[in-house]
Symmetry: C2
Subunit: 328 residues, 2 copies
């Protein structure tokens, strides 16, 4: 394990691939590995890219990666297929397009597919980001393919979230994405050479005008830690790109860096980091406690408890209280 | 609170609406209420209905509810807009279509919008199901509007999951839904009078043939508790419906009841219930522990811990271990 950690920190690609597999499997070794890598994290800047299928996200991500390489930065890419449990499945077309990046040692690409619940996916994404961060990738781009709530959850891992739109998607799809608008720090209207691009820009501007983000400035109270919290002091800009011709990439990357600078200067980056750390410690506390408790509870006690709750003789909370009292 | 519980159990609609609001808010009262209602739950059968926007889910759900009413059963409907944080927002069109049900005292409809993370939404859905179950609704239909992983998570709350397709959606949309195919117990091809319906049925059959569900029968090992677990002994049937003309509804409801019977007879319903209870107790244990611990930790100790982990002097696990040892 020490050897693996050393090699990951040294930038060994095969070691990195193995380390990522270990944390994805979430077994015994995963925690040990993450503990060892943790002190080396905190420098990678995470960029989320999301939007509906067919908006050209993958090509855009390719362009961004190349632009960052020109600027001398190392780039990790995590491509998530949240709705496809087929690893190596239907959406691999997107991955194929990334082939032209794979020769560059300063770029590391990893595809992830969902395994069971989204909770699992969000945790795995967070862990893989951590490994890439420790391995010295300066910018980590997380690309999600979809239009659902999964993107909102994964976006909470990102420092800057980019929502990609393109002209010509049906109104229904636009409506469903209302929730996604809330998480955007930057909007991209890709395929901007197509008819309707200006219409899409206008529609975005209108939706932004109506969003709670704006309302919040007028005194509406929103829950802390809510994904829809207003990003005070930052108005999400709209960039037009034509990804297949690599147009607008430089402007987009400049905007990402400007947003990063804004987060740093306003103290939001630090505040966010502290909140995140707090959540990490809380999770660790709960997991350790549960492991400890479960090692004291016999199988028969546990199965008695489950049976009595399932039979509605009591409820889960009362039973848990009783078990805690017995073992403390 | 006792009064509220009594009125919910008596079938008072206003009390039910209030109880649901209380559990949605997830405050102090929520736990007390759920504890009191828990012994009265376990009879409601939960049906998940999901699929892409525009497939006609809401009309289908209306028809199902009416068919169940004909059979003398009470129906609760939970309509979820997982991607719309605007409560009262854009997707309310779907709700309007349900207006014709609202006069029936044997039907209770509740719309829910996401508030922050999906984790929160899945929990809230589960809690609202529990309240409707306690209030004596025999069938609880959970309708999700979307094509994302959110649906997979929410489907895990359902006993029978119905995936609705319709002819003429683009291939891209079909591909993105590959993950959703995995969770289906019954497929509905709605708008079956339209051109391409037979093509959609055939495409579904092909995708089913390729899915891990089939592969699993040939010895592939899958993780327990995984949403993609094969449903052994049950091959998901495909039903054609024309929801706007109420065609195919009876057949669909018959199939749901047949699936329920299958789950009961095969012991899967009970097994599932026990797993779920186990998860409920585990969650309760973790929450109670954390409350208890946090009441012992001073604010300054907590903020020291967060700072030292954020500064990478240590990692969350090591810090959590240290805190646990100090307080045990």
């Amino acid at each position: 394990m020490d050897e693996l950690v050393r090699r990951v920190l040294d930038g060994d690609r095969r070691a990195l691939a193995r380390a990522i597999s270990i944390v994805e499997d979430d077994g015994e070794d995963a925690r040990e590995l993450l503990m060892a890598l943790y002190p080396h994290t905190g420098r990678g800047y995470v960029i989320g890219v999301t939007g509906a299928p067919g908006t050209g996200k993958s090509t855009l991500v390719n362009n961004m990666a190349k632009e960052y390489r020109k600027r001398g930065l190392r780039v990790g890419i995590i491509a998530i297929d949240p709705t496809s449990p087929f690893s190596g499945g239907a959406l691999l077309g997107d991955r194929v397009r990334m082939k032209d990046l794979s020769g560059d040692p300063g770029i590391f690409i990893r595809s992830m597919a969902t395994r069971g619940s989204l909770g699992g996916l969000a945790k795995a994404t967070s862990d893989v980001i951590m490994v890439m961060d420790a391995a010295g990738y300066d910018r980590i781009i997380v690309e999600t393919v979809g239009v659902g709530q999964a993107e909102v959850d994964i976006a909470s891992e990102a420092h800057t979230t980019i929502v990609v739109e393109s002209p010509g998607l049906g109104d229904e799809i636009q409506a469903i994405k209302a929730g996604i608008l809330e998480i955007a720090d930057i909007f991209v209207v890709n395929k901007a050479d197509r008819e309707g691009a200006d219409h899409t820009v206008m529609a975005l501007k209108m939706m932004l005008g109506l969003s709670p983000k704006t309302v919040a400035h007028h005194g509406k109270v929103m829950k802390t830690g809510d994904a829809t919290l207003p990003k005070e002091g930052w108005t999400p800009p709209i960039v037009k790109t034509v990804a297949i011709r690599n147009e607008g990439t430089k402007e987009l990357v400049d905007l990402i860096e400007r947003h990063a600078e804004y987060l740093r200067k306003s103290g939001q980056l630090e505040e966010r980091e502290l909140k995140r750390t707090q959540a990490d410690i809380t999770n660790a506390l709960q997991n350790l406690f549960l492991e400890n408790l479960l090692s004291h509870i016999t199988e028969s006690e546990w199965s008695e408890a489950v049976k009595s709750v399932a039979a509605r003789d009591t409820d889960p909370y009362s039973k848990a209280k009783e078990m805690l009292e017995r073992h403390s």
